[in-house]
Each structure stands twice: as C-alpha cells, then as structure tokens.
Symmetry: C2
Subunit: 342 residues, 2 copies
C-alpha cells in the first residue's frame, strides 16, 4: 500500500472530470450505467492521472477483495503446480487474484493458513481433499467464506468437490494389473493420515483384490512421504521379502520414479523382473525409461473448473455444484502382461 501523497484518489478524478465520485465509481464498476459521453470524459481523466483504486477502501466499501485463496500441500509436486497454474489463469480471466499458501501435508499448518487467508480477505477458498476437522468448516461457514475441495470427487458431501474418484481410478488400474496375471502385488503409498486421496488409492487396490477373490490383507503396503528417494527405499524393502511382489503399485508417479531407481540400483529390470505403476501422469512418467503405467489425471482441467466453480459460489452465493472429471488408465512399458508368451 504505502500511498504517496501524490497518488491520485477517486476525488481527484472526479474533480478533473467535473463529475461526482459516484459517477467515477460507476464508470469503473458498472460502465453500462453511465452514458458514453460522460464515461469517456471520466476514463480520460483516469488515464491522465494514472488513477488506480485504493485497495483497502474498495475492500472496505464493497466487502469483497476479488481475491481467492488456495492452500495446497506443496508447489513442488508437479501435479499441484500444474493445476494451480491453470487455476490462477482461470481466476485472472475473471478478474480475480490468487493468494497461495502451502500446508506441507500437515493439518495444523493448513488450519493456520486457512485463518491467515481468511484474515487477508479471501473471498473464497480452494482446499485439496476433504478430510479435515469439522471445526474448520464451521469456522468458514460462520464467516460465510465459500470453500471448494479439489483433487477429489465425492458426491453428496457437505462441500462441493471438483475432481475425480481416486478410489475408483486405482481400482481400475489394479484390475488391469490383475487381468495381466499379477497376483503378488505390493504397494508404496503416500502417508494416508490426513490425506484422503492417498487413503482412497489404497482402498481402491483393496477393492480390486476383493473383486477378484484375492486376499487384500496379503498385500504389503509401505507408507512414505512423496519423495523420489523414499520410493527407492520402500521399493527395496518390498523386494527384500522372501516372496517379493511381481508388481509394485505406487501411490503416485514420484514414488514410482523412485521405485524405478530402486530397481536399477538393485540390478532389477523393469518390467522383465518386476512391474511398477504410478498415479497422476505427470511429465516425469513419460520421461523415464521404461515409461510408467499410470492413471492420467486432468490437472489443468481440474484447476480451471475449480476456479470457475468457486467463483460461481462467491458471486452467486450458490452452494456450489460438484464436478466429476475422468481419470484414465495409461498403460505403458513399466507394466508387464504376464499372460503374453513371447
């Protein structure tokens, strides 16, 4: 802020154009309500003086900041970076600006950030996933700040969601894996505590096991934070078992790339010796060799639709409708079809 004494105000513009401040305000906010001749004169004065509305005053009078807050686990994972970029672009197209904070996957930090963004006047909030303390939603409701959960899709919840069904998607991928003849399945999952996307992906694998009459409890599952190195370590520990898996399904592509590295370090060939799958379909999945079988998530589309849904909630004060996006299987070289006889 730091307004200089020299920064022009609405009043200066009004005086310069020979109209009232109300008219200048209208020219800026609902130009169609001002007759063209007047409007032109006013806009010229705005130009000449280099006038920009004072933020604080505008917020105070209008009770809106045209600012939307987003709290994501981290910008360093390409999936959020890409979605957030699209979210910001869509916001900008509709005249909104993005306020960003990150939670490092920690509920306490997320709550703190929610309060910080609300205190900064966010007109609406984008959060990732739905699994959080109900008190958070009460807090937001009391201040009537609309919230939208993205990266998940859950029909009929309390909050609208824009995303895809993590559980169903992982179930479909696991079904494919099973169809390919794999029976000894291992999993490397992200930390499921406080992360419904991770938990749902695990549930999806279990669903597929049940569907095929397999014992889900036999699946060894290692939970570890989403870092390449952790994927490598977890992979090696899974493969050290007496009867190692024929396929290691990972909670996301970052872990899968780590698993791939782990395999290379152990001298194992993928997919000849062991298959690996990921989730998200970030660019990385197609850059490594072999390319990783994964679930494609429409990150950019998700970001864009989330922005639109959230702005609708803010502007129309509507409850907001959930949007389901489709995540699709991407079968690539890292998954071997065991039925195929060479």
């Amino acid at each position: 802020m730091n307004n200089q004494p020299s920064v022009p105000t609405l009043d200066d513009v009004a005086r310069s154009a020979g109209v009232s401040t109300a008219t200048v305000s209208r020219c800026l906010n609902s130009p169609e309500r001002v007759v063209e001749k007047t409007r032109k004169r006013v806009m010229r004065a705005v130009e000449e003086l280099g006038y920009t509305p004072n933020f604080g005053a505008r917020v105070m009078a209008a009770k809106r900041t045209f600012t939307i807050g987003a709290i994501i686990p981290t910008m360093e994972n390409a999936i959020f970076a890409r979605g957030l970029q699209a979210f910001q672009e869509a916001l900008h197209a509709r005249g909104y600006t993005l306020l960003v904070a990150s939670s490092a996957y920690q509920p306490k930090i997320e709550e703190e950030q929610i309060k910080a963004l609300v205190a900064r006047g966010a007109d609406g909030l984008l959060l990732i996933g739905q699994d959080r303390d109900p008190a958070v939603y009460d807090y937001l409701r009391a201040r009537s700040v609309p919230v939208l959960s993205a990266w998940v899709y859950m029909a009929g919840g309390d909050q609208p969601t824009v995303g895809f069904d993590n559980r169903r998607s992982m179930r479909a991928l696991a079904q494919q894996v099973i169809d390919f003849g794999h029976r000894r399945i291992g999993m490397i999952s992200g930390i499921t505590q406080g992360n419904d996307r991770a938990a749902e992906r695990v549930a999806g694998l279990r669903d597929a096991m049940h569907d095929n009459g397999l014992d889900a409890d036999q699946v060894p599952i290692i939970e570890t934070p989403y870092e390449i190195e952790n994927g490598a370590v977890a992979f090696q520990s899974l493969m050290d078992a007496p009867s190692p898996p024929s396929v290691v399904m990972c909670g996301n592509d970052v872990l899968a790339v780590g698993a791939l590295r782990g395999a290379r370090e152990m001298g194992l060939s993928v997919p000849e010796d062991v298959s690996i799958t990921g989730f998200d379909d970030i660019e990385l999945a197609r850059i490594v060799t072999p390319q990783i079988t994964t679930v494609h998530v429409p990150h950019r589309e998700m970001g864009r639709k989330a922005a639109e849904a959230l702005i609708d909630m803010v502007e129309k004060r509507s409850a907001g409708a959930s949007v389901e996006l489709t995540a699709s299987l991407q079968i690539r070289d890292s998954l071997k079809d065991l039925r195929a006889k060479p």
Copy 2:
C-alpha cells in the same frame, strides 16, 4: 470478506467493555499504552464476542496488507515452483501471505499482473529478471511499492537483485565443454526477447568462445520456448546440418531433456555420438539417462533470501541490498570428455 450482520466490530467490543474504540484499538495494537486493568476488561470482551479485526478497514487505516506479490513466468517449470515454495514458506514465517500471478513469459501480461497485485495491496513485489519497460519501475516507484528482482544478480542496478550471474555461470560451463575438447558447439536457447536470463546465458557461451579464440558467430543457435518437445525438434534441426555439433548446450534442463529425447528418436547415443548440457539442475536432470551435465542453481535458498530481502525493504523502507548466490557446475554423463582415450 462477506461479513455477516452478526460479526462483531470494534464498536461492539468498545460498548461491551465500556470504553472507547480508540482504547480497544490500542489494546490490540500497542497494549503497553493501556493500563492493565482496562486492558484486561477489553480483552475479555474481545474473547467473549469472538472479535476479529476487519481486514479492509484495517488495511485502509493502516495502509499495509502484510501481503507480498510474486509474478513468475509459470509455476509449471520446477525451477520456479521450488523457489516459490521456499519464498512462500519464508514469508509465512514472518507473518506475510503470498499473492501469486504468472506472466507466461509475456511482458504485457506481466505488466497487467503487476497492476493487479498492486491494486490488491501488495506491500512489495517479487519479479523474475530485470529486463522490463522502465515505465514499470516508475509506476512502482510512484506508489512506493518495493520491488526485488530474483533469478538474476546484477550489482549496481537500479533494483536490488537476489540471484546468480547467469552469464558467468554459462561461461564457466562452456569453458568446461571447450576444455573437454569440443569445438563444434550448438545451442538451444529459450526465447531471449524480454528474458534476460536466457539472453545472458547465450552471452556466456559467446564469452567463452572469445576467451578461447573461437568464432562465436559460428555457433548455431536456435531459440524456442522452454518445452520438452521444442528441445527435441531444435536438437534434430541442429543435427541435420552438414557438419553437426559435437555438443548441444541448452538454455535449461527442460530443453536438454527434450534434446535427449530428440537424440533417442534419431538413434543417436548420448554422449557417445553427441553431448548435451542443460542449466538449472532440476530433479529431471538426474532422473534421465544419461544424467545431464548442468549448472546447479540454489532455488530454495534463492526463494528464501529473496523473501527476507524483500520484507526488509518493506518494513525498514530501505533501498534493499542485492544478494549474490553461487551456481555451480554439475558435470555428469551427458557430456563427453573428447580428450579421454578409452
């Protein structure tokens, strides 16, 4: 914002505590100026009513938002994502919130975003690079919004910078390449127009050529936006020349990964048939095979230091001091030492 009719104001607190609004305000902002007895009474009322100061009113009266704006080319490139994440964390540690926008490497969009963030009350601004219309700096100066340029280091410029010397770094890398015996050098650069980092990297290569008595004008240079696919296409066009280069130096790692893909598609082995270098040292550089020789840039440190320098400028109203960080060579398998006889 969207204040409910039920949200309590300073006035409500004052009435409830039987004091003036001035006293309540003092209790909140400079408690030492209020005698304990009064203060306790006031704070009790604040508690009971669940009072939170109104953002807009506070901003308007105090002329500060505790918000810092950042405009980066895109969040999708890992180098900015990582630096921005660190920037945001450092901001949060000092009580500030981050307002983000992206420019897609387009000056016009950047200018628009600068205005948008200033209009949203950013107390200070982080921009990438220094190469922009002087009018932009005039605009910012007129509103006394401190600006800091990151990802570049230039001593003695008008604006403080927090970054490294792109030109010197590329020169050092090119010197290494030349020391390894390479003479036929080709380059794939990002678009240099309006991107001083890209332009400096090209200049660095030319410097090294001069240093070694080589003709810099002989170096074929292709400029293309930072996308993997573009790197592949540019690489192939360089290699199609009658006397193709023995090494292709890329403006960043994204282009280098593209070049690697291009080589694979052409059936060329790296580094046996041709060497490739990158810049930035993003995670990708170590994930591909062969690993890419590049320049390591301390992204996180840069983000953190930029946040600290910028907050100092905002709070102390100081001119701000530039900080130079060190970028270091990372020699990896993608660069062949032609002198080494097997």
